[in-house]
């Protein structure tokens, strides 16, 4: 019997890997930024996680993949969609979560989770990269700033502007036009993030607004995106410490379920006498189950009340 399982989120812009031990404890986690569905990126992420855990692939009993490249990985025993994995990972990070907002590189999803932690309903961006990480990347390039600096600059906005197009290409034109009119970068960026919030609220409306809300995906690391979405929601958002790895964590937990189910007798033998661990074990049986030991530091972002004018502006979009 092996002693570790692995989850890999082979996403459109980054690759993430999480390794768990058989008690569900995170022993390694890695994020690699190496371009669209990059084979090198995913290899780097897997190698990084294995090195951190101090193990080799041979020590991994089960590997589950997710993300756009999930079917491209030979080492994966199974693959699941991002919906299932992000929901599972987010619920592990915030056990009472009822709504998961995940904004990744190429898609944004809102997932309603039921009382059992199972996916009840979901909605995704439909036509293009509207409101996703890719959208922010394109606009960062147009404004000649670093992607990671966007959120901070956007929070310095003093004036409310409006970006109406959510098509990355046309929004870029709009942004250039706003800058040409003499608007400041913070004000323009504020409008960009408000537009993402409006788009996200459309998806929230489709699955139903309920809390607690947890946000995952790379865009959760952008403080302006979180701020504007929270303002539009009118309720606090819980942010895990590593929101980007929620999908990989969910995949790893599914791998854990699978591996434990297959090796039930051996695990019971190994846990003989460890009643506490056996009780935990009993809970690791269904996707979305809340009885996980995965470590996740979670912080609720302080609520900023929406101003009257911003509400009206947001509502005009919704």
């Amino acid at each position: 019997m092996k002693h570790f399982v692995m989850g890999i989120d082979f996403g459109s812009t980054t690759a993430k890997t999480v390794i768990l031990d058989l008690q569900g404890k995170v022993v390694a986690s890695n994020v690699a930024h190496m371009g669209a569905v990059s084979g090198e990126g995913v290899k780097s992420s897997i190698d990084g996680a294995l090195e951190e855990a101090g193990i080799t692939q041979a020590d991994v009993g089960r590997t589950v993949s997710t993300g756009y490249g999930r079917r491209m990985l030979d080492i994966a025993d199974k693959n699941y969609t991002e919906i299932t994995c992000h929901a599972r990972g987010a619920v592990a990070m915030v056990p009472d979560a009822r709504l998961v907002i995940d904004i990744g590189g190429q898609d944004s999803k809102v997932i309603a989770v039921d009382a059992n932690g199972l996916v009840a309903q979901f909605a995704m961006n439909d036509r293009c990269a509207a409101g996703t990480g890719k959208f922010l990347e394109v606009l960062a390039r147009a404004m000649q700033i670093e992607l990671q600096d966007m959120g901070g600059i956007a929070l310095e906005a003093k004036e409310e502007l409006k970006i109406s197009s959510m098509c990355a290409t046309f929004a870029e034109t709009e942004v250039i036009s706003l800058l040409a009119e003499g608007n400041t970068k913070p004000n323009v960026l504020g409008a960009v993030h408000a537009a993402i919030a409006n788009r996200t609220m459309g998806l929230v409306g489709r699955v139903g607004k309920k809390g607690p809300v947890v946000m995952t995906g790379g865009v959760a690391k952008n403080p302006a995106a979180v701020h504007h979405i929270q303002k539009a929601l009118g309720m606090p958002i819980f942010l895990p410490k590593a929101p980007q790895t929620a999908g990989a964590l969910g995949a790893a937990l599914l791998a854990l379920d699978d591996y434990r189910a297959e090796n039930k007798d051996e695990i019971a033998l190994a846990l003989d006498g460890r009643l506490d661990l056996q009780m935990d074990e009993a809970q690791h049986c269904v996707p979305g189950c809340k009885g996980v030991l995965a470590e996740a530091e979670v912080a609720a972002v302080p609520m900023v009340p929406a101003t009257g004018s911003s509400w009206k502006r947001l509502q005009s979009h919704i």
């Binding site: 699941y80 991002e82 996916v119 979901f122 439909d126 036509r127 489709r206």
Partner: protein, 445 residues
Amino acid sequence: MNAIVKPEPYANKLKSTRIAGKMVNEYWEMVWRAKEEGKLICWYEGSAINPFLEAADICWVHGEAYSAMLAARHQEGPAQAAAEARGYMKELCSYARTHLGCAVSNQRNRNDTDTGVSNAPDDNDLASKLPAPDMIISAYAYCSTGQQWDEMTSRLFGKKIPIFNVSIPWIWGAKKDSGYLKGREWNETSAYVARQLNDMVKFIEERTGKPYPWDRLREMMGYVKRASELRLEAMDMCIATPAPASFFDWVVSIAPINNLPVGPQIVDYFQTVRDEVAARVAAGEGAIRKERYRLFFDGIMNWTKVGWLAEKFAKYDAAVIAGRYTHMAFWQEPKLINPQDPVLGMAQNYLICPNNHSAPILIDLIMDLCSKYEVDGMVIHASRTCRAFTNPQFMIAEAATKRLGIPTSMFEGDVTDDTFYKDELVNSRVEAMLEAIDARRLVMA
């Protein structure tokens, strides 16, 4: 040299529906010959008024059917390009855009010929081959594009084609006594449409110069009624597990009930289909190799992807059993048809086009179908250019989740414009729904 071995399909299509392909081909061959044979030609969209026309020896061309046929043969491109070049934008209903492209192509050829340059359409150019109309009958339920489409067609032909308009009112369902096939509103709108159909017959008499052959219509509606009964009987048998036929089999069987020539052959067709379905039930044979999920399909058909989607769902072990498009349209209430006095029943079947109900009635009907076929989930095809069908889809999804506790999954595509379809997005959404079904089953176990 090694022979290429075609993999065994996952979808176990009904064998009897192959006959439909032959019937469809023969029908369009007849349409393409109609001018040479001196027949009057009528273009119409929406409601299945073809028996009225066929009885009077008028060749009928259903716009959506022609567009769907082009799309199913992957030959929609030239017609759509012609329409776009003429100024009809991509967001316009792609049925209309494709059909208007045929009108544009037809006129282009005629004009070139007028200048003395012979430009007879190539036999393979199906856009240009469609013969020009001698009359247009506009009888569309709900669809806001319908009348505009007919008006645009009329303009393309120089506003010289006589048009008759049948107004089919929206069923509001707002009164206390309102409901499916009942209430004062239902009775009044039924009578209103029937009166117009009688006026339409006078219009047909003016065009043909002959008294209307009512006996022939009565005889034809007897065949329609029987074919419809057999079709519904076969569909009902799909409550069996595994389901013996799929939504895609019923899609293939739309033409024989909706727009092909009416006669004993359509009864024979549905009798054969019904018998094959019954034999499958007796043998425990399913519409796919292995049935692990039963799904409802809400949405109009993506005609460029019928076989593709049938195989895709079959590979997921998902039997798509019923749908709004197939099970709630196309003479779906044969009990309303009295062959001896057919007009009122025809009017009523036109009124219950699934787009023409208010949301509460529509949603109740869909939920009933989901319960009847015991589906585990609902896949929703949001057709980009068909607002009429997509308008209530979020409400339908919500009702499925709240009332039946089943997950739904929506993907975007289109009726005849392939460019709106994105395969990887469909995969992600459908797989996510199936995973949600699996997770629920684990909890229930």
